[in-house]
Symmetry: C2
């Protein structure tokens, strides 16, 4: 199993609509990807590691797929439509990472 | 539900022992925290978002707890012992973030 993590840096003054992200964007992504995305999780940043510090990321999602090939097969055909929706919830550029799920 | 994410930056030349992290460190953390940590996940960075790019983080873990108070109650009393074990698998300083689990 692999996970594709999309991490939105917590940049002062930036826009991030958590409601839209949870209720519209992420369900749309799952709908487009179908079974190539087994499931996904969504996080909202609360705080950093030290008391009183801000979170590094304002929001994150993690898409879980059987393999990188499965992710690409599911995401690729819908990439332009999915990416075009980003402006509806944020003006941030995310950090994207692919990881092996070691303990899931 | 909240998650505490511990993200180890993928720094060239740094040391990170994935085997020790998975087999020794994380089970020790869970054992010390008991039921205050509901479960945890571990990731190993594979790649960045663009083909041929490295992952931003070489390894990550996520500790899932009912609340920040639960995390602090479970982690605090064992913090020095847990932190003292870090040198056994890495010389990196992690990024730590607390997030609300919006979709889990």
């Amino acid at each position: 199993m692999i996970k594709v993590s999309v991490l939105y840096p917590n940049t002062p003054g930036a826009r991030f609509d958590h409601e839209y992200y949870r209720n519209k964007h992420m369900p749309m992504v799952k709908s487009k990807m179908g079974e190539s995305c087994k499931y996904y999780t969504v996080d909202k940043g609360i705080a950093g590691g030290m008391p009183g510090t801000p979170p590094t990321y304002v929001g994150m999602c993690h898409l879980f797929c059987d393999s990188v090939d499965d992710f690409q097969a599911g995401f690729g055909p819908h990439a332009s439509e999915i990416l075009a929706d980003i402006k509806n919830y944020t003006d941030l550029t995310p950090v994207i990472q692919i990881s092996e799920v070691v303990v899931g």
